[in-house]
């Protein structure tokens, strides 16, 4: 009887590390055990529990869509014990992961719809997996609009990828819009001069205000710092998005990822949600029903 222990991490090799900003790095991982590789599937929006032995464990979203078996990418911001330790690792080092966990985004359901992806800061990481998935199966989805709010150019994640989309996305029927906060940011300013309809100064909500977006046949997907949700949702509902058309991902200090440790329980007693297994992706409707989720 060998029940798989969901708490036991699996070994993965870091095959590449990219420095993205002063605090964020992109890690390319590959599972080392060939037996697991075959079974390892993930969907956009799912996350892993990542361990550095002796330091601890932290939940991290997978930030790409699955292509090669057993490979995945993580974009990690260093904020504390575990994430700092991960940042010290180099190509060839090991990380220990378990998962994937969580529901992920309903990519099936969203097929044949337009996608409106709204991200703030690090929130772009899980949304990138949605975007990649939609691009991979491009014909299944309609117009894709990405709205990304950053503090300044140097804090922008996946810069090259998105600048390319900014300039050449039309070919793919992808609109990429950028909002930046720092007024002294010359790089972003130049982008704004280049296409003032796609780059502007302000919070990400600015982009929604400026754009003509309609809820018809569209799903909105949001990810960003917790304060962002309220404002973005307000903009969207004003434009007629219904609460089930809006998806968002949530964060909690989860220790297990599999609905045991209790850290991510939210809600009042008539609607209790676990961010880890009922989420991390929720509709705005869930958030309305579930106290404290947002």
């Amino acid at each position: 009887m060998t029940v798989k222990n969901p708490l036991t991490p699996m070994e993965a090799e870091i095959i590449r590390v990219e420095e993205m900003t002063s605090i964020e790095k992109l890690f390319y991982l590959k599972l080392t055990d060939p037996q697991i590789i075959g079974e390892f599937h993930y969907n956009p929006g799912q996350f892993l529990e990542v361990s550095v032995p002796g330091v601890g464990e932290a939940p991290i979203s997978i930030c790409d869509a699955q292509r090669e078996p057993g490979q995945l990418q993580l974009c990690i911001r260093k904020v504390g014990r575990v994430t700092n330790a991960i940042h010290r690792l180099k190509e060839g080092d090991r990380l220990w992961i378990r998962g994937p966990y969580g529901n992920g985004f309903p990519m099936k359901l969203m097929e044949n719809h337009n996608l409106l992806l709204i991200a703030g800061g690090l929130g772009i990481a899980p949304l990138r997996s949605v975007l990649q998935h939609a691009l991979l199966y491009r014909t299944n989805y309609g117009l894709i609009t990405v709205m990304y709010g950053v503090r300044c150019y140097s804090m922008m994640l996946f810069r090259e990828e998105f600048i390319r989309l900014f300039r050449e996305g039309d070919k793919l029927n992808v609109k990429f819009l950028l909002a930046y906060e720092d007024e002294s940011d010359t790089k972003c300013y130049q982008l704004a001069c280049e296409r003032s309809d796609r780059c502007m100064r302000g919070l990400v909500t600015r982009l929604i205000e400026a754009a003509t977006i309609t809820p018809d046949n569209t799903y909105a997907v949001i990810c960003g710092p917790p304060v962002m949700y309220k404002f973005v949702v307000r903009e969207l509902t004003q434009r007629g998005f219904t609460p089930t058309q809006i998806y968002m991902t949530m964060e909690r200090r989860m220790k297990c990822g599999v609905g045991k440790c209790g850290h991510c329980i939210t809600g009042s007693s008539n609607s209790i949600k676990y961010v880890c297994k009922d989420g991390p992706v929720f509709t705005y409707w869930d958030a309305l029903k579930t106290k404290g989720l947002m």
Partner: protein
């Protein structure tokens, strides 16, 4: 199939139980509270106890335990404890609480540690008498229908024994000489004793629609009143048989290469419970945490309460916050 065990034969019965595992039972040493500990001498057994401070969940989800031996290069090696134990004298509420815990720890993504120990443990229930803090009749957990191997109901000078599992049946077979078939008179006695027991409950809580009552009462002043005297010390969670939050941490050895991953019970009343990256706290105030705890206790899922009415959280709160009293106040106006 109901059996009968004379109290005089209890000691012999325990002797047989020892074949099935190390027997743990409620005892109370001088200066201590009732606790389940290894029964080294059947004389110290106290089957007519009120409640243990720490519920029997401690055998399955341990207060603190090492999960893995870790190694920088080789990763994580599970530490499995597959010792066999017998828990003698578990109350119905605690058995029902374990059934609730099973839904979390076994049903989806089974927790290896919990599950193994659950499988390796024999549970022998015992009937009890309520005190002024028990309200398990209100939470529908005053009687155990499943989740035990044997259940002993006290009547006069003997126990009527219910068999709850195959393992229980095996014990009965082993103790053939000690157990008699319960007579119809015994069954009558058993029913009478149960009816008597029900009459002794003085504390009642109406849980009808409590989920919506709580949901609608976020602004009720009772939360703030209690948050003012609440320490946020987590005692209520830590004594609760259905609370199950835990935290994990890694520790390195002197060689900086090997170490252990440990977990320990956590509590949603503690401030750091709702912290996330960037220092944001989803439940920064005690009011929010208190509200959350009561909500969590009143709903494990849409179809089930998460409280078995054992009264521990009230008895062991150093600030004397009364669980049932709070819920009553919320419900009344």
């Amino acid at each position: 199939m109901y059996k009968k065990l004379l109290k005089d034969d209890l000691e012999n019965f325990i002797f047989i139980l020892k074949k099935f595992g190390v027997v743990h039972a409620p005892v109370r040493e001088a200066g201590r509270v009732y606790e389940f500990t290894e029964l080294t001498d059947s004389k110290i057994l106290q089957l007519n106890y009120t409640r243990t401070m720490i519920p029997p969940k401690k055998f399955f989800l341990k207060p603190k335990e090492q999960l893995y031996i870790l190694n920088r290069r080789e990763g994580f090696k599970e530490i499995v404890d597959d010792s066999k134990i017998v828990l003698l004298g578990v109350h119905a509420c605690d058995i029902n609480a374990l059934n609730l815990l099973d839904r979390i720890y076994i049903d989806q993504f089974p927790d290896r540690y919990y599950k193994t120990r659950r499988e390796n443990t024999i549970i022998i229930g015992v009937s009890c008498k309520p005190d002024e803090y028990c309200f398990c009749t209100s939470t529908n957990s005053s009687y155990a229908l499943e989740g035990f191997d044997l259940f002993m109901h006290e009547i006069d000078d003997s126990y009527i024994i219910r068999i709850g599992s195959l393992k229980g049946f095996q014990i009965v077979c082993e103790s053939e000489n000690l157990l008699a078939e319960a007579s119809s008179n015994d069954i009558k006695e058993f029913k009478r004793a149960e009816a008597e027991r029900l009459k002794e409950f003085t504390l009642h809580l109406n849980v009808n629609g409590i989920q919506d009552i709580l949901d609608a009462s976020y602004d009720h002043p009772v939360w703030q009143e209690n948050a003012d005297i609440c320490f946020g010390c987590g005692s209520c969670n830590l004594v609760c048989p259905t609370c199950r939050c835990y935290d994990t941490a890694d520790f390195l050895n002197l060689d900086l290469k090997t170490g252990v991953r440990v977990r320990r019970w956590d509590s949603c009343m503690l401030k750091q419970h709702g912290l996330v990256a960037g220092g944001l706290n989803f439940r920064p105030t005690r009011v929010e945490r208190l509200y959350n705890r009561f909500n969590c206790k009143m709903s494990l899922s849409e179809d089930s309460l998460n409280c078995v009415g054992c009264g521990r959280c009230t008895v062991y709160c150093p600030a004397d916050i009364n669980f049932v009293e709070v819920l009553k106040q919320v419900g009344e106006d």
